[in-house]
């Protein structure tokens, strides 16, 4: 992967000037490359990684395994894109193995989630079965541990 992308993936807020110094490029070149990535859809957005568990949110998260019958035309993609359009769906993946789609979903209450599954998801033509798991606690997301690891004080001067 382009080192510029890797850096942005770990810190999307790095300034063009800082990135330029780190990569030994001009600021202009960095700006252009980022603009190109945004234009061609390689970069799809910038978000903060928030530890939701620290917030007093009315919010439930679930993961749903969905089995579907692929369609003659379009395979899994058409059904996936229908599911993906629901704003409560956060992430959606096509999987190998015993089920086909993995849906990451959030709602305000358990009932919201149950309603989504029974009314919206299960009724889509081609959906054969669903299996819903609720998330209880987030330890790590997007490569970031939610609890900061205690770091040992290093000596201030070492050889």
């Amino acid at each position: 992967m382009d080192e510029l992308l890797r850096l942005l993936k770990t810190n999307a807020r790095a300034s063009a000037a800082d990135l330029a110094a780190m990569l030994n490029l001009s600021e202009e070149a960095v700006r252009e490359r980022i603009a190109d990535y945004e234009k061609d859809g390689t970069i799809r957005g910038y978000q903060a990684i928030v530890n939701d568990d620290r917030l007093d949110l009315d919010r439930v998260q679930a993961v749903i395994e969905v089995k579907i019958t692929p369609e003659r035309e379009g395979g899994f993609d058409r059904i996936a894109s229908r599911i993906g359009k629901f704003p409560e769906v956060e992430s959606l993946f096509l999987m190998s193995g015993t089920y086909d789609l993995l849906v990451f979903l959030h709602g305000r209450t358990l009932r919201d989630i149950a309603a989504f599954v029974s009314e919206k998801l299960a009724t889509i033509e081609g959906v054969v079965s669903t299996s819903t798991h609720f998330m209880l606690k987030t330890y790590k997301t997007n490569g970031v541990l939610m609890d900061k690891e205690p770091t040992d004080e290093r000596l201030k001067v070492t050889p």
Binding site: L7, D18, A21, R154, V157, T158, P159
Partner: protein
């Protein structure tokens, strides 16, 4: 370093016993002095830390935890775990093109620190002279003196990129010269040797029948050119003690594990000292080291890239301030020249610390020829490096 917590005015308790004369002749470490000046201050940015700021990669720590869990709490063979020596043999073959026999040519030590001591004590007779480049790592001259040898520094400077060359070495050669010590990539300058330098130095060593002790602890950290080791030069393996370790490459300073590779007779001699003084390196650290060599390749690449970026930031910052600095090709140090401000490097470092709360080690801590320079370690957080640069600009602007 616990005693650094003593109040500064505490006088040493007078002793009935005299300290050994050759020890009295060894000055205190300049790093140690500076450590005491910095003391336990918390409000400073430190670019004085000669060790990675990354924690040891988790899978390596985990290997140690697992070993502890399984009851690995005993001595190992004096030479070190055979499994580790085999990994070291594979690694040195693949990385440096040097073939060592795990049974007789590899000794696992308590860091490169111990390995340096063993190498010198194994070969020096009283009065033997040891050539080494200066500025250099703080322990070289003292270790030579502990081994009753005579340290003969060869001054390098920014004019030659802190590299050694043949003419400089010839100038210091005497009939008593026995050993040449090398440390490239270098602490404190970040210098690396070019392939033609390496070839020249190797030829010099062969011609004058010198033993070369090469400390390649920073060998994984080169940023522009692939590393090259003197041990791979023709005729060098039989006259080289090759030292390497885990502290820098895998961020394992606290594990205290390194190794020496050398022909069997030299290994045996070092082993003789090691078995009586140290017995063996800690088993949990050896277990971690096995894991590092087996599956630590990605960690190296990630950390190397991070250091490269920090180096770029630091070097550009120094350039913008107008402080001349040889491009550091390896390790994680920049060594800018600060000699034009009319301050000694010690005065510069102390005032910089006091006025701007940034700690950088004065170059003079690394030998007389380090005077006029400042060691800035970039194994530090990028934001800290940027802030330190802003403060350095302000400080230099006032001088």
């Amino acid at each position: 370093m616990n005693d650094s917590k003593l109040p500064h005015d505490a006088l040493p308790v007078p002793s009935r016993f005299d300290i050994a004369k050759h020890l009295q002749a060894v000055p205190r470490s300049g790093i140690r002095d500076f450590f005491e000046i910095v003391g336990t201050r918390k409000d400073i940015i430190s670019l004085s830390i000669g060790e990675p700021d990354f924690p040891t990669p988790w899978h390596i720590r985990e290997a140690s935890v697992y070993a502890l869990d399984r009851g690995a709490t005993a001595y190992t063979a004096n030479l070190g775990l055979l499994e580790l020596r085999r990994e070291i043999a594979r690694y040195t073959r693949e990385s440096f093109g040097a073939e060592y026999d795990p049974g007789s040519e590899i000794l696992v030590t308590v860091g490169v620190s111990e390995a340096l001591d063993l190498a010198l004590r194994a070969v020096l007779n009283p009065g033997d002279e040891v050539l080494y480049h200066e500025p250099c790592y703080v322990s070289y001259a003292p270790l030579v003196q502990f081994a009753h040898g005579v340290p003969v520094p060869v001054a390098t400077s920014r004019d030659n990129g802190f590299r050694l060359d043949r003419a400089m070495l010839e100038a210091k050669l005497t009939p008593r010269t026995r050993v040449l010590m090398l440390n490239y990539p270098n602490n404190p300058t970040g210098a690396i040797l070019a392939p033609d330098n390496t070839r020249d130095i190797a030829a010099f060593a062969c011609e004058h029948n010198l033993l070369v002790v090469t400390d390649e602890i920073y060998s994984e950290l080169t940023y522009d050119e692939p590393r090259c080791s003197i041990v791979a030069e023709p005729g060098m393996k039989e006259r080289t003690i090759f030292l390497n370790g885990f502290s820098k490459a895998w961020a394992m300073t606290g594990f205290r594990v390194g190794y020496a590779c050398a022909p069997p007779d030299l290994t045996e001699a070092m082993m003789k000292i090691h078995q009586y003084t140290m017995l063996c390196a800690p088993i949990l650290s050896q277990k971690a080291a096995i894991e590092a060599l087996r599956s630590g390749g990605n960690d190296l690449a990630t950390m190397r890239e991070a250091y490269r970026q920090r180096r770029n930031v630091l070097r550009k910052g120094l350039e913008d301030i107008g402080l001349p600095c040889v491009l550091p090709g390896g390790a994680f140090y920049a060594f800018p020249y600060i000699g034009d401000f009319g301050l000694s490097s010690q005065e510069f470092a102390v005032r910089f610390l006091e006025e701007e709360k940034v700690a950088c080690v004065p170059g003079s801590a690394f030998g007389a020829s380090g005077e006029g320079y400042l060691r800035c370690a970039y194994a530090a957080d990028l934001d800290d490096i940027r802030e330190a640069l802003r403060r350095l600009a302000a400080f230099a602007g006032r001088l």
